[in-house]
């Protein structure tokens, strides 16, 4: 459906029906994603409960500044994408492209900080769980468990970010072709839901990784 008219496929009663189905489908997918990440959060609860001191010793080794900057980046990215959606509803396709491009660039900045700066630093400091793990003593086991959670959780979230960058890029390409209008912009709404959900996951991961284990 590259037409900017609000047409619909034969199985739907109207264009609005088709749009509602697409948006509901994305919400159902996100509900399953909640369970996907829920297992990760449960592993945090379980592992930290039995290894509080070790877990906190691990958390204190994380790079708080980068985690906080990345949180601001993702919140801003979600905001900018939502502004773009408001613009296409008002019929301004050029502003949609600009907002999506900014949201995309912020997503790339997040990934560069996380995997280009923070991860190499963590690995360089010997924080990757295994033989060369640098924290010694009685807290070693709990700290290793923390870093298993850290690397696994941030990698899973990063994969979701990559998927998000792919679909935001697809929206930019279609918007540049003039595929969207105030009457038809369902893909922009659906991708926006996914992009904000990835932001939501990070909002939960940020305190679990960087804040809870960091006391005075």
């Amino acid at each position: 459906m590259s037409d900017t008219m609000a047409t619909h496929e034969f199985q739907y009663s109207s264009a609005e029906h088709q749009a509602e189905t697409a948006i509901s489908g994305m919400w159902l997918f996100l509900a399953t994603e909640v369970l996907f990440f829920g297992a990760l959060f449960l592993s945090w609860i379980y592992s930290r409960h039995w290894n509080q001191a070790g877990f906190d010793a691990g958390a204190q080794q994380t790079w708080l500044a980068i985690g906080t900057i990345n949180t601001v980046i993702l919140l801003t990215s979600s905001f900018v994408y939502s502004v773009g959606l408001a613009f296409i509803r008002a019929g301004n396709s050029r502003r949609l492209v600009q907002c999506c491009a900014v949201a995309w660039l912020l997503g790339v900045a997040f990934l560069i900080l996380k995997f280009g700066v923070e991860w190499p630093d963590d690995i360089g400091k010997g924080l990757f769980p295994g033989h060369g793990f640098s924290i010694e003593g009685p807290l070693r086991g709990g700290a290793q468990l923390f870093f298993v959670f850290y690397f696994f959780g941030t990698a899973l979230h990063g994969l979701h970010m990559l998927g998000g960058l792919g679909v935001v890029g697809w929206i930019i390409r279609r918007a540049r072709r003039g595929d969207f209008s105030p009457a038809f912009h369902t893909p922009v709404s659906v991708v926006g839901l996914y992009w904000s959900f990835v932001d939501m996951v990070w909002i939960v991961l940020y305190p679990l990784i960087y804040l809870i284990g960091r006391g005075p």
Partner: protein, 110 residues
């Protein structure tokens, strides 16, 4: 359009305030078991993103049903999954054995 932009801007501002609050809470002298309270601002932030950026209020009713279902499934997963670690009583087996040995035999064999 202007109203929507104002709503989005205020939401971003509120999100940043909550982030600052959460960041500040991390340095409070809270007991280790109370530190998960730092998640309260994060929960509010998730609600804000869902309500404003994801427009859950404007979507069809089934969207709210799916969102509630997701939260319910998550509550079951986390609730039942953490029931054991949060309620298990740790018994100090060594101390019990010592107490048994020092207990008068009349009481121990009762």
């Amino acid at each position: 359009m202007t109203d929507r932009l104002r709503e989005l801007s205020l939401t971003l501002l509120l999100l940043l305030v909550l982030l600052a609050l959460e960041f500040g809470m991390a340095f409070l002298p809270l007991a280790r078991s109370l530190r998960p309270l730092i998640l309260v601002p994060a929960a509010l932030m998730v609600c804000l993103v869902g309500a404003v950026f994801m427009e859950i209020r404007q979507g069809p009713a089934i969207v709210r049903l799916f969102a509630i279902a997701g939260l319910l499934w998550l509550a079951i997963l986390l609730g039942l999954g953490s029931l054991d670690p949060l309620t298990r009583v740790d018994l100090n087996v060594g101390a019990i054995a010592t107490a048994n040995q020092t207990m008068p035999s009349a009481i121990r064999n009762r």
